[in-house]
Symmetry: C2
Subunit: 309 residues, 2 copies
C-alpha cells in the first residue's frame, strides 16, 4: 500500500540504522548494522551504505542521513549550523555525497555563557523529530555517552549543553580505582537500591571529583556491595547531571519543571527515574525520533513531496 | 657523626622511599625503588624491603613505614583510626610485622556530612610531619592521584576530603574522547597559557561533566591547539578542585584564606598557582614530610628515644 518515499539513516559512531519511510512520515520498516563510522574500513562508506540497505538499495527513494557520518571523520562533512536552529536551517545546511547517493544533515553548534562552544550531531534531528508532533517549546534530554540537554523554543533549538556522563561512567569503571572493586557495569535490568542511593547523593550539592570517591570508600567500609558499585556510580552521575542541568536550564530560558526524555532504552528509564526523584515531570518521547526528524528535514528540503496539508 | 636512629619508609602503591633519620629527626640519606605494593611479586614484602634498604638492612635501627603497605593489599593491615586523629592515635594504632621487621602507621578515616566515609593512607603521616614545626591549626592540600584536603586543628587531623582529580585527568586523557585529539599529557615543565585558561574556567561555578567537554569542543573549533588540551584539562580539574575544596573547607572549620601545599613537584607548583589565582595564600611545606612524620610517630610510640626537650 504505502510506497517508500524516503530512506532515512541514523548513522553514528558505532552503529547505523536505516528506515523506510512513506510520504506521510510513517516508518514502514527498519534495519541496523554495526557499521558506525568507526567500523567502516578504508573510508569506503559507499560499500557500508550498500551493506546496510541490502535490497533497499534498489529503491529509487531519496536518501538522507544524520549523525557522525557528517563529521570531519565521516563521508562528507556537513559543517555545523549555529543556534538557534530550526528545520529550515538544517535543510539549508544539507551536505550531499556526489551522485545524489546521500544527503547529510548538519550538526548544530552553540556557545555557552563564557564563549566555550558546544556541538551535537544527530541529536538535532532526533529532537526536532521527537517534538514535531508535540510542544513547540520544551526542555529535552537525550541520554547517552554524551548526554545533551536542549532548550527548544518556537520549534527551534535555542541552545543546549553536553554532559559527558555516559563516558565518565564507562571510563571510570573500566580504568579507574572505582572499577577495581566493582562488579559488572550496570546492565539493562531495573536498577536497584544502590542506584537510588547514588541518585540521592547526586541530586544534592557536592563536588563531583570528591563524590565519585564515595564509590570506593563505601565499598571499602562495607556500606556498598562490590556488585552494586556500578549502579551507585550510575545513580551519582545521572543525579548530578540532572541537578546541574536544571541549574543550566533555569539560566537558559527559565522553566525546568518538566523535561522530555528522548530515548527508549534502559538508560532513558534511569533518566526518567532521576527526573522524578528531582521533582521534574518526565515526558517520554515516542520511538523513531531520528526517522521522523529526517523525514521532516527531507520534506523541508524538497526531497520528499508533501502529500498535502 | 649522627647515627641512624630510625629507618623511615614511605611505601605506596607504585613506589617506596626509605630514609635514614637521626635521633633529632634529621634526614641523613634517602633511597627509593619502584617497589610499590603493586610491584611486589607473590606478596614477598620481606624481599622487597631488603632490596629497598640494601646495606641499610644491616643497621640495628627500628623500622617504620606509612602508606599502602598497611592496607588490606599490603604486608600487615593497620586498620584506619578515626578522625580526629593526632600523633598519639597513629602511634597507638601501629601494626607490627612479626619479628620486629617493621612497624606500620595506620591510615585515617572520617565521614562527611551525609555519612559517606573517606580514607587516607600515608598522607596522615606527611601532614603531621609537614606541620610538625609549623602551625598547630591549618588547612592543607596534598596534590596527587587522589588529592587530600585536610583540616588540622590543635595538632590533630580534624577532617579531610579526597578529590580524584589526578586520576580523572589520567583516565580521561588515556581513555576518553578528550585524549583522542590531545597531545601528550602535561609534563614537568612550567604550564603555559592553556593551563591558565583551564584554571579560569575551573575556578568558576559550573557542572564538571559539562565543562570537561570543553576540552573537545575548544579543540574542534580551533580555540585550543591539540597539544594544549592536556594543560587546559589540568587547569580545569585543579581549578574546580580548589573551588570546591574552598566550599568544603568553609563548611568544615571556617577559615580558608590560606592553605599549605604538601609536595615539592611540578604538580604542587600547579596547585600553588591555582590557589594564588583563587585568592588563597599558598604556603609550601618543606620537603621530607613523610620522613619527619614517621620520626614523630616513632618517637611517640617509644621506638626512638627522645634526645631531650
Amino acid at each position: 500500500m504505502s510506497a517508500t518515499a524516503l530512506l532515512a539513516i541514523d548513522w553514528g559512531t558505532s552503529a547505523a540504522r536505516a528506515y523506510r519511510v512513506d510520504a506521510d512520515g510513517a516508518i514502514l520498516a527498519e534495519r541496523s548494522a554495526p557499521l558506525g563510522i568507526q567500523q567502516v574500513r578504508d573510508g569506503d562508506f559507499g560499500a557500508a551504505l550498500a551493506a546496510l540497505l541490502g535490497d533497499w538499495a534498489a529503491l529509487r527513494a531519496p536518501r538522507i542521513a544524520c549523525g557522525m557520518i557528517g563529521s570531519r571523520q565521516g563521508w562528507v562533512e556537513a559543517p555545523y549550523v549555529d543556534c538557534p536552529a530550526d528545520l529550515d536551517a538544517l535543510a539549508g545546511g544539507l551536505a550531499h555525497v556526489p551522485g545524489r547517493k546521500l544527503a547529510i544533515v548538519p550538526g548544530v553548534a552553540c556557545r555557552d555563557g563564557v564563549g566555550i562552544p558546544d556541538v551535537m550531531r544527530g541529536e538535532e534531528t532526533q529532537i526536532l523529530g521527537a517534538l514535531g508532533a508535540g510542544p513547540r517549546s520544551a526542555l529535552a534530554v537525550l541520554p547517552g555517552t554524551h548526554s545533551k540537554w536542549v532548550r527548544v523554543g518556537a520549534g527551534r533549538i535555542e541552545t543546549f549543553a553536553t554532559f559527558m556522563t555516559g563516558e565518565l561512567y564507562a571510563v571510570l569503571l573500566a580504568h579507574s580505582i572505582l572499577g577495581r572493586m566493582a562488579g559488572v557495569p550496570a546492565g539493562e535490568g531495573t536498577p536497584g537500591d544502590a542506584f537510588a542511593r547514588g541518585l540521592l547523593r547526586g541530586l544534592e550539592a557536592g563536588a563531583l571529583a570528591h563524590d565519585l570517591f564515595g564509590a570506593r570508600t563505601l565499598a571499602l567500609a562495607g556500606g556498598l556491595a562490590p556488585a552494586d558499585v556500578p549502579d551507585w556510580l550510575s545513580g551519582l552521575l545521572i543525579g548530578r547531571e540532572v541537578r546541574d542541568a536544571r541549574i543550566w536550564a533555569a539560566a537558559n530560558g527559565g522553566e525546568a519543571s518538566r523535561a522530555w526524555v528522548i530515548g527508549n532504552d534502559a538508560l532513558a528509564a534511569r533518566y526518567a527515574r532521576a527526573l522524578g526523584d528531582a521533582g521534574i515531570v518526565a515526558d517520554t518521547a515516542p520511538a523513531g525520533a531520528a526517522a521522523r526528524g529526517l523525514w521532516a528535514v527531507a520534506r523541508k528540503a524538497g526531497l520528499v513531496a508533501s502529500t498535502g496539508g
